[in-house]
Symmetry: C2
Subunit: 268 residues, 2 copies
């Protein structure tokens, strides 16, 4: 089932997709079954007519930095051959100001260098509150999956002490287009295209530590809440993104997150 | 004016304090003047009877890591004499799962070491959305100020790659008791007491970079939203906190944030 978030009657609203690309708006959130009922008097709306929002605004925005060996090789080991693969799951954070819906433009500040890259990522959305969750039961806490683009300015990533600008500049975190509740993690494939040309392709589950292991580990210290998101890292590398490029991140079984790149001119 | 957040009629509710420690509940939030009106039919409630919540749940939780020279000396330079003072404002992040109201217990996990420390911090709460804010106009974007305790497990802080557990374990971010809208930044003093005994005392504004400079710098890349919080760092150091200790962080002109420390027993 596909769950979306969009503007409806002037307010952010959740809805689910039914046949023929129609979307049924609901009142409340999809994370509580009790609330998830059609909005009073609401008729299904064509998907194509919607003003999409990010599918969820998390209370906490978790992100895994190093979870595919080919990405550690190309991004980290290239400048420091001593970088090791992680020995245990550790989690980082991103910031909500940077979230951007499917279809909206990634805006690169004028003072950024040419080294702006995409990172296509599987995103697990938490559906059920929990702490001290076992690895065996971890996936019961997942509501569904969506797609993230962890846009990164690599020069800032090396010089910023905390990756603040490199990862969290406004519009640097596209997420969407929707949450899919039925996914086969083992069968998924991630394909990233720039202007329609395939640039990066990998098996989504080829992670050093998988979704269940991450949820179990971090929940030993953190309570996970409905709507929290866990970005699972990326593989490979990216060409430098240029003004006008369109980045499509497809994860089979979910869909495609598409965003255009706009470089802000100097002197704005 | 003091703004609080608390449970009222079963829901999180904002209110403001009037004379004789009475609190007037409002509907909406204090960040929008339009919404900030007394809740229909609500009578003032005694402060002492309230179930307090953290005064705001931020969309993005910003935190300054190194902003007082005495703290850089005692925490960072002690293990690495080469650590330099920051040359420009850079910002880090904390996680909402860790937020804890005034009066609630800081719970230290059984596997933490003895090296658990307080950090008494001024917290600026954003009241007005903005980007590309000048330093001159930055304080117009502040709604008010509250107090934070950036509880830190120093052993994990050295070994965790991202400070995930060391800073963000559940209950490690007490914040409160309220937001004060009228503060004289230059006159404030921070006093931290453990079990009533003064342990750390410093002039609050003795920062390397002040509130206005930080807001201006980060808003060159980030949109700041009403309710976002900016924890401004701490001075000095802390003794190791023990089971049963009560930590009071007073910032003159705001109030006192008080939390008891509980060490979770092994085998829980």
């Amino acid at each position: 089932m596909r769950w979306l978030r969009f503007m409806y009657d002037g307010s952010p609203t959740y809805g689910y997709m039914v046949e023929q690309d129609l979307v049924v708006p609901i009142s409340g959130t999809p994370f509580s079954r009790q609330d998830a009922r059609p909005a009073p008097g609401a008729a299904p709306v064509p998907y194509a007519s919607l003003e999409l929002l990010v599918p969820v605004v998390p209370q906490t925005f978790y992100a895994v930095g190093r979870n595919y060996r080919s990405h550690i090789d190309s991004v980290y080991r290239a400048s420091d051959p001593e970088v090791k693969d992680p020995e245990r799951p550790e989690i980082g954070y991103r910031a909500n100001n940077a979230l951007l819906p499917h279809g909206a433009a990634i805006r690169i500040p004028a003072d950024a260098t040419e080294k702006v890259h995409y990172e296509g990522e599987l995103v697990a959305v938490i559906g059920k509150k929990g702490k001290h969750i076992s690895e065996q039961r971890a996936l019961e806490h997942v509501f569904g999956y969506t797609i993230g683009n962890d846009v990164s300015e690599r020069t800032w990533q090396k010089t910023d002490r905390t990756m603040w600008r490199s990862k969290n500049t406004d519009t640097f975190k596209p997420m969407g287009p929707w949450m899919e509740t039925h996914c086969d993690l083992e069968a998924m494939h991630t394909n990233v295209r720039v202007n329609g040309e395939l640039k990066t392709s990998f098996q989504t589950c080829d992670m050093i530590f998988g979704v269940a292991r991450y949820i179990s580990t971090i929940s030993q210290y953190f309570t996970l809440y409905p709507g929290d998101v866990l970005w699972m890292g990326t593989a490979g590398t990216s060409p430098d993104l240029r003004d006008g490029d369109v980045v499509d991140i497809e994860i089979t079984g979910i869909g495609t997150l598409s965003n255009k790149v706009v470089r802000e001119p100097h002197g704005e």
